[in-house]
Symmetry: C2
Subunit: 437 residues, 2 copies
Amino acid sequence: MTSPQPHGTSPHATSLDQALHPTTPPAGHRGHQGGHRARSVADHVAAVAELLRPLRSLNRTELLPLSQALGRGLASDITAPISLPPFANSQMDGYAIRSADVPDGGTELRVMPPVPAGASPAALVPGLAAPIMTGAMLPEGADAVVPIERAIPDRFLPHSGRATVKLPAAAPGTFVRDTGSDIRAGGTALAAGTFLGPAQLGLLAALGISEVAVHQAVTVLLVTTGDEVVEPGQDLPAGKIYDSNGTLLEAAMRQAGLEVRRTGIVTDNPEKLRGLLRAEGGGVDLIVTTGGVSKGAYEVVRQAMEDQPVEFLHVAMQPGGPQGIGTFEGRPVLGFPGNPVSCLVSFEMFLRPVLAGLLGAPALRLPLRARLAQPLKSPEHKHQVRRGTLQPDGTVELQGGESSHLMHALAGSNVLVHVPEGVAALAAGAEVEVWML
Amino acid sequence: MTSPQPHGTSPHATSLDQALHPTTPPAGHRGHQGGHRARSVADHVAAVAELLRPLRSLNRTELLPLSQALGRGLASDITAPISLPPFANSQMDGYAIRSADVPDGGTELRVMPPVPAGASPAALVPGLAAPIMTGAMLPEGADAVVPIERAIPDRFLPHSGRATVKLPAAAPGTFVRDTGSDIRAGGTALAAGTFLGPAQLGLLAALGISEVAVHQAVTVLLVTTGDEVVEPGQDLPAGKIYDSNGTLLEAAMRQAGLEVRRTGIVTDNPEKLRGLLRAEGGGVDLIVTTGGVSKGAYEVVRQAMEDQPVEFLHVAMQPGGPQGIGTFEGRPVLGFPGNPVSCLVSFEMFLRPVLAGLLGAPALRLPLRARLAQPLKSPEHKHQVRRGTLQPDGTVELQGGESSHLMHALAGSNVLVHVPEGVAALAAGAEVEVWML
């Protein structure tokens, strides 16, 4: 059967695979200055993976009961300790028979004591039929089940020792679930790095496994910056806007299973930002900032990181081009740009897939093919990420334009639409890759 | 723009719409005996919606800060209190100009004091250019922005009062984000019943809204039954299997935002089950049982509900046909069948979409079209739900067979595959509706 994360063949996952298992070292990200040439999306994914690789470590795994492991990534392969089903059992309420006992036209058989689910039944006496319930162990000697609906009478009678039942013939194996027909003991039930959703946890339970080794959750310090932003709920002075980045990213990160610490909004004072990162960054795995990474005159994150090995560069992506990456006093830092759509796209393109690849959680976005409902233009030298609504018929309606401030349009979208580098325009009806949000 | 939950056109959502807004009363479910004819999936959805309709009530809404509202459904429409953007602002770092001041060949302009983001700038002096940062308010009189990259010099200099800059012409509106271009004050930002994910919460924050009225989370008492099941982690006697239903459904419900109380496994003693429901059912919104609803000789849920208005019936669906529905001492009860895949399919087909329709949460599964990678057979008089792996190319590989015990196959799947009533076989390449898990 296919692995539980069947995304390995997508163009993106391929870049990610390259990023996680590079044959050449990824582009360095320790210099203070970005080059003038924009970095490709794949190269930046590789750099983020390199930065966060220490999060995949034996020291950062923990054993959790199944009920606490939802949404985590499996730390190591799980071998099936038993077969599923553990024993041959009945798929129906009916009669267990030896198929050779019933000729083609059917026959009358004497009835044995019934076999309820959960019982360890006596062997089938040759020439008899045993009433058997769904899921009950097939008695030794039985090799087929006739559903109660096909028996005469078509309901179970109290066991008397003399009752008989008329049954039609059944081929060997009919309505029998064989031992190990779902998985055999010793087989790989789930591979390391599998995302643990309901079905995967259900499988572990079915195998009798009650605790599972998973990667620890990643803790992020989320810092939104800007003199222009005000907390929701406050008055809004002229020229200011409400901070949506904090709410948006915190929710996206929490939905992805990250633990998030928020600071208040940081105004454009680099010294205050440095103080805050020192005060609040203790124990977090990663610092994520928003805003202040571009080429304007007031770029607080750039300024606060001046003496730190953090690179500020441009990724060939729209929106979300300006990015910061490095460490602040040894702690990993990602500097996202300041517009909300850019922030979400940065999270979805860089942080989320890298964590999925390293830790198995969150789950990778499933890449799908869809047809554009309308034409679009895209900067040819950039990977454009548009927002859209995927319709049940497989077309995708673009929501809003290219601009990265359109929160209302984002809130009406259910997919990200990818327009790769090298494409300047697409016609209505053209096929694109979309990621479901 | 399209609504945030663009699922209203799917066949399933249509049935659900009918269910939630029936023109004729749904089939009654207060009788003790189901008829011999199976109930359609749509009729059972309608019955579940009727049972749970009281959960949509003003008494069951609450006001939450945005950081606690993730995954909830909006209780009422949200009207935008401000426009987004709240004021015309610059899309780029550059120079704000009056477009009429720059002739086609470009010109040299004197430079005003810079406009940082967050400032309320002085009006643009005619014939001058104002350095402006991304997101900063456009000065009165300005109607276009020239990006810094197109200026000579192409970087900001300290303001001197005498500096000049050479700028190319720009059409009115160039790189300007107009007031209300995302949403206008007074418009509907989000409709009642919208699922609140990161983007929707981000939009509320951008609008300055810090608290939101949502439907309360639904609390479920989850009871797994059966003499044959043993808790994971215990020894496994012959004939017994491990309980996976509890883990599977608890995880599926928690992932969907339900609050779940678990009981231990209930053996096939109806009196004990009744006692347990009385002892543990206080305060829950819904009781969900697994197993014991079929036509076997030992059906503990059926027996425990004998004097209660609970109907046990067959839905024309495979797997998951046997279903119980009604109330136990006034409290809503859904009785799911005992096989794990049947349980999950019951949850996904009945409980999840009904709650989504009533309360806006969890989110509806997005229905997609996919092409079968291999042929399948289906009972013509039933709606079959198969499990599969949706590939990036839009084909779906079936995982496991029809049988409802195949947990390993389920754990390798990412979609449910729908084969509607009236279809007995489909060829490879046939189009099917799939729901992403």
